[in-house]
């Protein structure tokens, strides 16, 4: 790759990781611009990872004020009230992230994410959303897809001991390496809307139960007009009822979404720090892969449940996409 060479300082700082992904990848990273929304635990972990990795810039959007809940899985914010007063979540996280790696520009953009136009998103190579409503996910995903350049789009959610990552790299080309062989691969990703519209009965029987459970919770929050995570054990009967309805409509055996799993997701709306670390780590790796073009990107969902310990990739896309 032609481009400026890494500085001596960069080579020294990134020595160990350059040995993993090479100097070209490091150069690409240092020119990338990332946007994140939703400064909770998982995103905090993710931000730490990519700031340490040495991306070009990171822009944070989250105007919310600091709450006890926001602090629970976030290691970027000191729980000191004097420090927190008047600052938004994004601003506090920016201050800490800046210290992690002075070579990365970390900034805050204020405002409502859904009101930002195409020219705003056009500045970024990667957009990551966390704790967003179904409608916001769809909206921002579509906005990114309409841009002339390819923007990698991710959503990430952690509830209780579980986590989910969604990836949309649109049309993505990369060189797949296996031992000595390198093959050119092209992956075609569906949008979030397209992915979740794939009829459940046409999905393979082994698809992670978490996929279905997360969709039920998502639909429930949307129907009730709740913010993500605004759910508690009292909602369980209604959630179970909704699950029954959806399963019937989708002709899916109800046992594919165990009630116990839904109960866990409803009860443990908060993030679980070890899961934040794991999901934030996987997401960091995925974003680094997508920017650097090194490594197999996951398509298009990733699930982790600390109960069974599996971190599973699921490809949820229409086998016969239209057009």
């Amino acid at each position: 790759m032609v481009g400026e060479e890494l500085t001596e300082q960069e080579t020294a700082l990134y020595d160990r990781q350059i040995r993993v992904w090479g100097a070209d990848a490091q150069r690409r990273l240092s020119k990338s611009h990332i946007l994140v929304y939703g400064m909770k635990g998982t995103i905090t972990e993710f931000c730490k990872n990519i700031v340490l990795a040495g991306v070009g810039s990171l822009t944070l959007v989250d105007d919310r004020a600091v709450t006890e809940e926001a602090l629970s899985a976030n290691f970027l914010m000191p729980p000191d009230e004097n420090v927190c007063s008047g600052k938004t979540l994004a601003e506090l996280c920016r201050d800490s992230l800046n210290e992690f790696n002075p070579m990365v520009r970390v900034s805050v953009e204020k405002g409502d994410l859904t009101s930002f136009g195409a020219e705003f998103f056009d500045k970024f190579d990667v957009v990551v959303l966390s704790f967003c409503s179904l409608a916001t996910k769809k909206l921002i995903n579509e906005r990114c897809r309409k841009l002339s350049k390819r923007v990698s789009f991710y959503t990430v959610d952690c509830r209780d001991c579980c986590g989910e990552i969604f990836v949309d790299l649109q049309k993505y080309n990369y060189a797949m390496k296996r031992q000595d062989e390198t093959t050119e691969c092209e992956l075609q990703y569906p949008s979030f809307q397209e992915a979740i519209s794939v009829p459940w009965r046409s999905l393979p029987r082994k698809v992670s139960k978490l996929y279905f459970a997360m969709r039920v919770i998502e639909r429930f929050e949307e129907a009730e007009g709740r913010k993500p995570g605004e759910i508690c054990i009292e909602d369980l009967p209604a959630v179970l009822k909704l699950k029954k309805e959806i399963c019937e409509a989708q002709s899916l055996n109800e046992s594919h979404i165990p009630n116990a799993l839904l109960e866990r997701l409803v009860m443990g709306a908060r993030e679980f720090p070890p899961v934040c670390a794991i999901i934030g780590g996987i997401l960091g790796q995925e974003v680094i892969k997508a920017i650097s073009g090194k490594g197999d990107p996951l398509k298009n969902f990733f699930f982790f449940d600390s109960m069974d310990g599996k971190g599973i990739i699921e490809d949820i896309s229409d086998p016969n996409p239209k057009g």
Partner: protein, 755 residues
């Protein structure tokens, strides 16, 4: 109480974590966030002699070696005086310097900052924060590079910023110190390892076994990682599977017939570098001779002596011509060797670089200059990723050699290769490349050569973060189980598919982070293995040792077997009731003399002779680890295959290296002929890879009949019907085949899930 979150067990639990490196930082953060309130950290200090100079903004770190006789904390006064001497020089330079001398570091501010002209002095761990740590050890900042604090304290302070009310106790000491004994370990509910070396891992493993404390062990390299749980009697211990020893190369490959770049690196590092700058009396006299043609016309002893009328360049060129020219010619004369090999070509400096390197850089002449002595800098070579041509390598070789003798004269004779020593890396890169050119092996960049020579392990922050998360999950499960035993079944609420947490099934899991998905999985959990019945550590199975009892000394046995192979720290060796050797602080003078004398004796000539059929008992009191070794006398050993002249069998036999070291980057196999200074980083790397390879190749995959054995006998008592039922239900619920990992050992057929 299905969730692992908000566990009561977490709050009261006292946990010990060992290591504050990449995994350690992530682990401490995740523990604190997860609600752990009593965390103890032990940072093992790494002993190493470092020489190097790095520039970081206005701060410069001068890493200064002190002779090999100094052991760190033993001689502070000595060093302080040295530092004051250095302070004079620093004051004149006018920036801030940190000096690291063996384990100790001294921070000095210049008069400018202090105002009073006195050097500001503090002591920190040797395991200091380096620039190349910052990309993943996120609790440390640029400002901590050289800050006068130990890693564990810095990490502690960083975590207290977001969790001020928890207790974090740092210990800045080697975990192998005698005060971290079994009683110390017993106070913890669980021990979490985030270590980077095999030695400390083995030590902690033994203490955990002795103290009966569960151990969560971890390791990462690049995108690969693994987390395993070790519970005495229930699962295999860390040492149940043999750990591959560092890759060794046959001597003749290194000295005569290199075929890979790594062979050239080993030659440059362990032979040439050591000969020129290290202890000249070392017995590495296989060194620069190409083969055994002793008819050498030149006096070998004198080749490396500089005569008075030579300048440094002449001297350098003479060494150059000797090792790259003359020695190759000599090797070529033995035609037998080259029948089936490509002949090397001798290289002489005048052919590559006819002109004298005239540009005498002014600063290179000043011996007291503190700017980094670098051949690259003086020759204007910038990019460490570039591959130098033969001419450039020649110039670097000559320049680096000159710089060593001119600006680092005091260290000559005591130097050993260090990957953080820029000049040493430059010299070794150039020498290896010239040799590679001679043998028709592709040349490599300094960056690549540094990785190979320094056994640098790939590391990224993300894998550490993931592994730390997995460690905490396992730790919580361990604690939950502990809670169950104490409070009875508090998880009595059993719903349809509810998991029952209070049993081994959920207690133990090995998890692998994969680079490429396997069975759609990036994180792959595996049921743990049961203890290896022939493990000499947790099953105390005797070992047998083939050794020439008429030739080998007790010292050979102590160094090569007891310390290197068995990983004992303070051993005690008995032959029947007779004490042959022991290490301790409280020994009588005559005892010490006796032991020292014993060390030099041949085994069969000891007062209690060790001969064929003798049973030796080797014990480490601190580790509470005893091992019996049957001695088998053997007369002859294969020089190339068994260079130790000893063969220990039973359990430590690592499998032969399967991996071909074709990647130029020095991860995997240790590239040193002997044990490198920081040898073990690479170990677990191999570990992980081997295991993963095993998983990936279908031939090795193996499905066990699910729970065919039911519970292992020792657990059947506390496993009632319901639990068995539940377990099976859980498995039915799970469609995927459980992947069993085949370990390499010959005992695979005995392996079962610990359930």
């Amino acid at each position: 109480m299905a969730s692992l979150q908000h566990s009561q067990e977490i709050k009261g639990a006292k946990v010990l974590m060992v290591g504050a490196g990449g995994i350690g930082c992530e682990l401490l953060k995740t523990l604190a966030l997860s609600g752990f309130q009593d965390i103890h950290i032990n940072v093992a200090a790494v002993i190493g002699v470092n020489i190097g100079l790095m520039g970081i903004n206005e701060t410069a770190i001068a890493v200064v070696s002190w002779g090999s006789g100094s052991d760190g904390f033993g001689s502070i006064g000595f060093k302080v005086s040295f530092v004051c001497e250095m302070a004079e020089m620093i004051r004149s330079v006018g920036t801030r310097y940190v000096m690291i001398i063996n384990k100790l570091a001294f921070v000095m501010e210049t008069t400018e900052k202090q105002g009073d002209g006195l050097p500001y002095l503090e002591v920190i761990d040797m395991d200091t924060i380096e620039v190349s740590n910052l990309n993943r050890q996120f609790l440390f900042r640029q400002s901590h590079v050289g800050q006068s604090k130990a890693k564990a304290s810095v990490a502690r302070d960083a975590v207290l910023r977001f969790r001020p009310h928890i207790s974090i106790t740092p210990y800045h000491a080697n975990v192998k110190d005698s005060n971290f004994n079994v009683n110390f370990f017993k106070q913890f509910k669980v021990v979490l390892n985030g270590l980077d070396n095999l030695d400390a891992r083995r030590h902690v493993n033994r203490l955990c076994l002795a103290a009966e404390v569960p151990l969560v062990e971890s390791g990462t390299t690049g995108f690969l990682g693994q987390v395993t749980v070790h519970v005495k009697g229930k699962t295999e211990c860390y040492e149940c599977q043999p750990k591959p020893s560092p890759k060794t190369y046959p001597v003749c490959t290194i000295t005569s017939t290199p075929s890979k770049f790594v062979h050239c690196i080993v030659w440059a590092k362990d032979l040439l570098f050591a000969k020129l700058f290290g202890d000249k009396n070392q017995e590495n006299d296989l060194n620069v001779r190409s083969n055994d043609s002793c008819s050498s016309s030149e006096n070998k002893n004198n080749v490396f002596e500089r005569s008075d009328d030579e300048d440094w360049e002449q001297y350098g060129r003479r060494i150059y011509d000797h090792v790259f020219g003359y020695n190759i010619e000599l090797a070529l004369s033995d035609e037998e060797t080259w029948k089936n090999r490509t002949k090397p070509r001798p290289i002489y400096s005048r052919d590559v670089l006819p002109d004298k390197m005239t540009q005498q850089n002014g600063n290179a002449d000043k011996t007291d200059d503190l700017s980094p002595a670098s051949a690259m800098a003086s020759l204007g070579l910038k990019n460490p990723q570039d591959i130098w041509c033969l001419m450039e390598n020649t110039r670097v070789f000559l320049e680096a050699l000159k710089l060593f003798f001119m600006s680092r004269k005091k260290e000559i004779g005591n130097l050993s290769f260090d990957k953080d020593d820029q000049l040493a890396v430059e010299f070794v890169t150039a020498a290896a490349n010239i040799r590679a050119a001679s043998f028709n092996i592709p040349l490599h960049s300094l960056f690549e050569a540094k990785g190979i020579a320094g056994n640098i392990v790939h590391a990224v922050a993300t894998t550490n973060a993931i592994v730390a998360g997995l460690i905490v999950i396992e730790a919580i499960k361990v604690l939950k189980k502990d809670g169950c035993y104490r409070y009875g079944s508090i998880f009595s609420k059993i719903n349809e598919n509810w998991f029952v947490l209070n049993h081994m099934q959920h207690l133990c899991r090995m998890t692998y982070c994969l680079e490429h998905p396997s069975k759609k999985m990036l994180l792959m959990p595996v049921e743990p293995f049961e203890p290896n019945k022939s493990c000499c550590v947790c099953s105390q199975t005797p070992l047998s040792l083939e050794i020439n009892t008429h030739r080998s000394k007790l010292r050979d046995f102590v160094e090569k077997i007891v310390k290197a192979k068995l990983g004992m720290n303070s051993p005690l060796i008995m032959c029947g009731l007779a004490l042959l050797y022991e290490v301790g602080d409280d020994l009588e003078k005559d005892m010490i003399e006796n032991y020292t004398a014993n060390l030099e004796k041949v085994l069969s000539e000891l007062a209690s002779p060790v001969t064929d059929g003798t049973m030796l008992t080797v014990e480490d009191l601190q580790q509470e680890f005893t091992c019996n070794i049957y001695i088998k006398h053997r007369e002859e050993f294969d020089e190339e295959k068994e260079p130790d002249e000893m063969v220990l069998s039973g359990w430590t036999q690592a499998p032969p290296e399967k991996k071909d070291d074709k990647t130029s980057i020095g991860n995997g196999a240790s590239t040193s002929k002997s044990l490198p200074t920081e040898p073990m980083d690479a170990q677990k790397d191999i570990d992980v890879k081997e295991i993963l390879d095993g998983t990936a190749s279908p031939g090795k995959k193996r499905k066990l009949p699910e729970f065919s054995e039911g519970c292992s006998p020792d657990q059947s008592n506390d496993a009632d019907e319901t639990m068995n039922h539940k377990k099976i239900q859980k498995l039915d619920d799970d469609d995927d085949d459980l992947v069993m990992l085949d370990h390499w050992g010959k005992d695979t057929s005995k392996k079962q899930r610990s359930q």
